[in-house]
Amino acid sequence: MSNKTKLFLYGVLLVLCIPFVFPTWWMITSSFKPNSEIFSPSLLPSSWSFEPWRQVFTMQPFAQQYWNSAYIAVVVTVGTLVVASMAGYAFARIRFRGQNFLFLLVLTGLLIPSEVTIVPLFRIFNSLGLVDTHWPLILVPMLGPPSVLATFIMRQFFITLPGELEEAARMDGLGRPAIFRRIALPLARPALGAVAIFTFLHSWNLYLEPVVYISSQTKYTLPQALTQFTDAYQGQLWNVQLSAASMTAIPVLIVFVIAQRQFIEGLAHTGLKG
């Protein structure tokens, strides 16, 4: 490749980067602009104002909402890993009666997006008195469609494990549960990582469900809270909103930069199987 072609390709790549990188840059820098300057086209604030970042916490119980999102995402992720790895292992490595039928049954769950079932689920949770609690946001992703996808991914992984390992363990007198826990699970770390990343992000981004189920401000999750930074006339307080958005995005971005390979391969892999 000639130097000219290379230069041209780099130029194209750099231009293409703009719509991917600029919004994140704009979100963070604009969050430090005072309200008077919010629509100025300058790339950096003329003077950095930390006031919007403080206002995020005075306008809403934002720390509480942050905690809500974080603990829900962690519980859903851990729960999904347990449920999906156990079921995925059984479907992949154990022969049992009804296996194919039951697997097909679980698999059809992939065809049914959660938007289709939100009306009846709302009624179920309503009759259980669980509306305006975090239970729907935990139970539905942990056991519903996303978990079905996770089960499928885990099964596809476990099916590739060589049988000799398990036979050797069996010779040593290990039972199934022990083989699962001590042999199969440690080997499944890449698949578990992929499922964990996908599940965490799914929960972290969940929007329709919280909007439908949650009505008290202290129980809001982040996506829902982000839309609520308005002044008395329902006008958007852009700098405060962008500060809150930055706080939501930056931690995940940092983890992504550190573990970009796992993120990209994991998400592409889970996307592929979906």
Binding site: P23, V83, L102, V106, A249, L253, F263, A268
Partner: protein, 304 residues
């Protein structure tokens, strides 16, 4: 006696039986979850669609096919379906074209492609709401994009508030959000195309475009089909972007099916009709999946 029974018990609990028991225990949570949170509500949604059901008025009456007649007569439905189709098709076409372009660029022997890969992928991990909000901010009438256009002497439209640009804007925001995923899938597929085939075609005198069209494209067609299916089904679920950027407007030009369903069920409290719209959504997803199977058989070159 005790010896005998423990012997028979040991014989009953063979390794195979114990394995089976373990398997049933292992799949129970997933199975119960799928039954309770996928299949039960799926059956219920059909049942509810046969009812007139208003939560506020506390009515729940069997009305047969009334809601389906309402669906056929609803003047909003054609517009909603048009908006849904426009969003889905626009998203798939732009997303796949851009993903393929990026993947081809990143597949060149250039230094630093890893950095570009990370940059192109980064919106995928930015919280959906954060991404949508900052784009909403950029696309305001006096926002960043029009500020920049102004600087080069172009008077930009009010992107999210005018009928001609609102839907296009929403599509573009979503394309940049998730195109990184398809890009990575295409990149993997491109790297699986044997170099020897390219070289053979080149020595036969084929130009780069010809090689791409006649060799690369057919070889990655399974990936193209797969990504288009994932992208279409994903596009039917769009809600947050609409809710934040346009609230379905102006008029109902960006009211896609899920947003309409939400409005009917949770804003107007017409749960029975909301359930009917859910059934319609399910029908569309199902039809697309069946279509996928058909296309897979016919169209895709050499599936491994």
């Amino acid at each position: 006696m005790t010896v005998g029974s423990s012997l028979t018990r040991r014989r009953y609990w063979t390794t195979r039986r114990r394995d089976q028991l373990t398997a049933y225990v292992f799949i129970t949570p997933a199975l119960l979850g799928a039954l309770a949170f996928v299949f039960l509500p799926l059956v219920l949604v059909v049942w509810y669609s046969l009812h007139e059901w208003n939560v506020l008025a506390d009515t729940f009456n069997f009305v047969g096919a009334e809601n389906y007649r309402k669906l056929a007569d609803d003047p909003n439905v054609p517009a909603v379906l048009r908006a849904t189709a426009f969003f889905s098709i626009g998203l798939v076409v732009l997303n796949l074209a851009l993903a393929l372009l990026l993947a081809v660029l990143l597949n060149q022997k250039l230094r630093g492609t890893t950095v570009f890969r990370v940059l192109f992928f980064s919106p995928v991990v930015v919280s959906l709401l954060a991404w949508t909000i900052v784009w909403g901010f950029l696309l305001q009438d006096n926002g960043g994009l029009n500020g920049m256009l102004d600087a080069v002497g172009i008077d930009g439209p009010n992107w999210l508030r005018s009928g001609g640009t609102a839907m296009v804007s929403v599509v573009i925001v979503q394309v940049f959000k998730n195109v990184g995923l398809n890009m990575v899938l295409f990149l993997a597929a491109l790297q699986g195309v044997p170099v020897s085939l390219h070289e053979a075609a080149r020595t036969d005198g084929a130009g780069p475009w010809r090689v791409f069209r006649s060799i690369t494209l057919p070889l990655i067609s399974p990936t193209i089909l797969l990504t288009s299916i994932i992208t279409v089904v994903g596009s039917l679920q769009v809600f947050a972007q609409i809710s934040v950027l346009t609230q379905g407007g102006p008029g109902n030009s960006t009211t896609v099916l899920v947003y309409y369903l939400y409005q009917q069920a949770f804003q107007f409290h017409a749960f029975g009709y909301g359930a009917t719209l859910s059934v319609l959504l399910f029908g569309i997803v199902l039809a697309l999946t069946v279509l996928q199977w058909q296309m897979r058989k016919r169209w895709v070159f050499h599936e491994q």
